[in-house]
């Protein structure tokens, strides 16, 4: 029986020829990640283990991105724990304010993750790196503590689930729409404990940004990881970035899947997921009556250059609706600088948008755009749970950058087509 890309990567990291779903393995890790919310607990637990130092100072990444620049005194104390720990253990990849970015955009861009890697991060969206053909998954702080000490962790090999996307992309439909539609189809636990492998001609068409977006949201369907086998686009992206040597894997033709889901992308409209679960996915045409107070473009899901270019293309020459606050958050300093160089920042500001330094901020209701009671936002983020962006009686609608930008102008949810 053949093996999937996920099985092959896991097998390679535990010294086996192959692994079976349900099998328990102890896998070597290429990188472990923590942020300002999860790493402080991990560091406390790490001290309890009694390790003198981390397993490899070049394979631990600490990214203060959630409540930064420090939103309050307590957050400042948490970030200080990371900074002090990084100094004490001479950790190569602690990203200070001014050099940081949102972890899941930053680490691939900095070349810290490559194809074929096995990565864990104490953040649920660590599954993002599957877009590079890596196995990556989110864990908790205690898992991170143990992995920082040992450089390995246990996994139960997930069952494999395959998604085949065919057809051509309609205008304004991108990676975010594909993944929201997919979650709508299978539900927020439709891939629980499973690996989600995204394949098909539409995935080949998709740029790296769109692929990162799709793998990023595998967790919103309950998935253990999302993954896309590397192709020329992947290797072009990795070239000149990836700091370590890497391995390219692909699934065997006779690999076994517990389920195969086929989706015709040519029939899709841009998608909006209604409160309070990402599975409440509907075509944008069914959402045009919903008035808005805020639009957020950014996050680990959609804060890349490609996302900002789509938003700027729509906002150029328009003004943000008087009732709407538009907040744009480039995901990294590199993207922030590039959007200045390309003139995107000027377009955003002239349209009446607020452009922020990189931060997770409003996505988790932390800062930089928290909602009041009764307020409603459209956001390119990944979760629309109760209270996610602020008050428990506020609402978040999830969409891609095109719909978020068009909606900011319209003052209600709508498609860029309506602006013509």
């Amino acid at each position: 029986m053949g093996q999937t890309i996920t099985q092959k990567i896991l097998a390679a990291h535990c010294g086996k020829d192959g692994v079976d779903p349900g099998e328990l393995i102890n896998a070597r890790l290429d990188l472990v990640l923590g942020n300002d919310i999860t790493a402080p607990i991990a560091i406390r637990e790490f001290e309890k283990i009694g390790a003198k130092t981390v397993f490899d100072k070049d394979r631990v990444a600490l990214v203060p991105d959630h409540s930064t620049p420090n939103k309050d005194i307590k957050s400042a104390e948490l970030v200080k724990i990371l900074r002090d720990f990084a100094k004490k253990h001479n950790i190569s990849y602690f990203f200070e304010i001014g050099k940081m970015g949102i972890e899941h955009t930053l680490l691939p861009d900095e070349g810290l993750v490559g194809p074929g890697d096995a990565v864990i991060g104490a953040d649920s969206h660590t599954c993002t790196y599957g877009a590079l053909g890596a196995f990556s998954t989110g864990v908790g702080s205690t898992d991170l503590a143990s992995a920082m000490a040992l450089g390995e962790t246990w996994f139960k090999v997930p069952e494999q689930m395959k998604f085949v996307y065919y057809g051509t992309f309609p205008k304004w439909v991108g990676g975010k729409d594909l993944i929201l539609h997919t979650i709508g189809k299978i539900g927020v636990d439709g891939a629980l404990y499973r690996s989600m492998e995204f394949t098909g001609e539409a995935i080949s068409e998709l740029d790296m940004a769109g692929r990162f977006t799709m793998c990023n949201m595998a967790i919103e369907a309950g998935g253990k990881n999302g993954i896309i086998a590397p192709d020329d686009k992947t290797l072009d992206y990795a070239k000149g970035r990836t700091k370590r040597s890497y391995e390219v894997y692909a699934s065997d033709a006779d690999a076994e899947y517990v389920d195969v889901v086929e989706i015709d992308v040519s029939k899709l409209e841009p998608i909006v997921s209604f409160p309070h679960l990402p599975e409440n996915a509907k075509p944008v045409s069914e959402a045009t009556h919903i008035r808005l107070d805020q639009s957020v473009i950014g996050s680990c899901t959609n804060g890349r250059m490609e996302d900002l270019r789509i938003a700027a293309g729509i906002l150029k020459g328009h003004k943000v609706h008087p009732d709407v606050r538009l907040i744009i958050i480039p995901a990294t300093q590199e993207i922030y600088l590039q959007s200045i160089k390309e003139g995107l920042t000027e377009i955003f500001v002239e349209a009446g948008g607020a452009v922020s330094t990189p931060t997770c901020g409003p996505c988790l209701g932390g800062h930089m755009g928290v909602l009041a009671e009764g307020e409603r936002a459209i956001a390119t983020t990944n979760r629309n749970f109760v209270g996610r962006m602020g008050h428990t009686k506020s609402e978040v609608y999830l969409a891609g950058p095109a719909v978020a930008a068009a909606s900011a102008i319209l003052g209600r949810i709508g498609s860029p087509e309506e602006l013509r």
Binding site: L24, I37, T38, P40, I41, R44, E45, K48, I49, G50, A51, H66, S67, K71, D72, K74, S75, L78, G121, A122, D123, S124, T126, G138, V139, G140, S141, T142, D143, A145, S146, A149, L150, W154, V188, D189, L192, Y193, I219, G222, K224, L277, L364, G365, G366, R383, F385, V386, G387, R388, T392
Partner: protein, 165 residues
């Protein structure tokens, strides 16, 4: 043996309602416990008693990887969580921090808010004292029993590191 009253919830109880992000600027278990379930059941912290049991339907603990979620539940006094299914990171985190959790759809279907339960973690046996019915949850796989025997992941890592040195 865990004995307590049931606090019952539905499907997809996410980590943002178990412990809202606005309280993630602390790692103190007691402080986290004081806000546990606040956005879905504001009375929970006032009515929960040590040993009480949380019962939910599908995909409990979905969303963020925040370990603050099982920490806040454990620190609130809850002795065990029973659900049809758990989200995978929450499942991992709970066992790693020592919060017992059991998957048992039959029990979930037969348990109501306020019922009195008795749970034997060694066997996975669940008794609904209020109705007299008993249920059997899946026993933990051997690796997890070992991890639990060692007192969670930190002791497990400690043991392993000791073997290497």
């Amino acid at each position: 043996m865990i004995k307590g009253k049931v606090h019952k919830y539905g499907s997809n109880v996410d980590t943002d309602v178990i412990i809202p992000a606005r309280y993630l600027n602390t790692t103190d278990p007691d402080e986290l416990a004081s806000h546990c379930m606040e956005d879905i059941d504001s009375e929970f912290v006032n009515k929960v008693k040590p040993g009480d049991i949380m019962v939910a339907e599908d995909n409990f603990g979905c969303g963020s990887s925040r370990e603050h979620a099982p920490i806040s539940i454990k620190a609130s006094g809850v002795g065990c969580v029973i659900a049809n299914t758990f989200a995978r990171i929450f499942y991992r985190n709970s066992l790693n921090v020592g919060l017992p959790i059991l998957e048992c759809p039959e029990a979930v279907a037969g348990i109501s808010e306020g019922d009195e339960l008795e749970i034997d973690l060694a066997t996975g046996g669940i008794t609904n004292v209020s109705t007299g019915k008993t249920y059997q949850a899946k026993a933990f796989p051997p690796f997890m029993q070992q991890l639990i025997e060692l007192g969670g992941l930190i002791n497990y890592a400690k043991t392993k590191l000791g073997q290497r040195q």
